[in-house]
Symmetry: C2
Subunit: 191 residues, 2 copies
């Protein structure tokens, strides 16, 4: 991607975070990118295509992969700490804001899968992990689905609140939260 294109993509995604896709105008995109509006259309063809091109880029994609949860030590606390760090390093407030800003019918069919895949991948990784740990007699609960959704919620909730209210709801640091929440969760399920 060339320089001008990247400036346009950046401007677009930042505006989407601020006001959502429908209220983001191509005029304002051009202004913020420091280019002429006609350039925007000559490069991308349409407003929608700016976003679709952006989503391909690493910067605007959490890129959470199944492999992220396939390597573990069988030490419950150590593993969950690692999973939590991975999740919260990749699923940033920025990504959450963009995802929320993209919620509109025009884009839904293109973005929905990519967006839903993030919690899906995390949940799947966790479910498999809990299943394995249960077999090895390291945890009590047998409802791995509940455990996975719980751990997912614990992590997602934190990013979501930061994305939505910055530090106004809680000023807890990410690292503090990770340590405390993993400690309590592990304490709650370990044998």
């Amino acid at each position: 991607m060339d320089k001008t294109g990247l400036k346009i993509i950046n401007a677009t995604m930042n505006l989407i975070m601020e006001k959502g896709y429908p209220l983001t105008t191509t005029k304002e995109i051009a202004n913020r990118a420091g280019v002429n509006e006609s350039t925007v259309f000559r490069k991308f063809g349409s407003k929608k295509d700016i976003v679709l091109n952006a989503m391909e880029l690493r910067e605007w994609n959490p890129d959470l992969a199944a492999d992220d949860f396939k390597v573990y030590s069988l030490d419950l606390k150590k593993d969950l700490l690692k999973f939590s760090h991975t999740y919260l390093n990749k699923v940033t407030p920025k990504f959450v804001k963009v995802s929320l800003g993209l919620r509109c019918p025009e884009l839904y069919e293109y973005t929905k899968d990519g967006i839903m895949q993030v919690p899906m991948v995390f949940k799947k990784g966790l479910t498999d992990y809990f299943c394995e740990m249960y077999k090895r007699g390291k945890i009590n609960s047998s409802d791995h689905e509940s455990l996975a959704v719980m751990f997912l919620s614990l992590n997602f909730g934190f990013v979501f609140f930061k994305a939505s209210f910055d530090d106004m709801l809680t000023s807890l640091l990410k690292e503090t939260y990770i340590q405390n929440s993993v400690n309590i969760f592990v304490n709650g399920i370990k044998k």
Copy 2:
């Protein structure tokens, strides 16, 4: 509120859940409400005012109050079960969808406080509760802020995912999730 007004409010809020405020047109509101578009404006004056009027109504407001968390039994599990039920009965997927649909600058100044107050009230109630339980030696952890944000995330995450992906992410029933998550959480913090 008269019958026509309610039909308009209902149509508006349902459309906002489906496509968000900016993409909800007064024309479509009128169609869905079965009234003429001019009636919409004669009754409410502007599109924005339909929403502001709706937010006053009980139906479109979770109405989560501080008092909801001031009565408890000092039995950790019993209390947290009650708090979770209260939260998830009031903060419905419907409310979450509307809140997400209202995210736009034009409405932000009017809706932000009301929306943020929901997690705020819950967090405050929980923090106070954990503080009390810690004093009485019934829980271990002393970081009540972390505990509150954790329990909030556990509950909010569940509604959010249901609101966003219906049963596609998880088909867990609300009641099952409440029981399991409270069990594990209590297990993790009790003395």
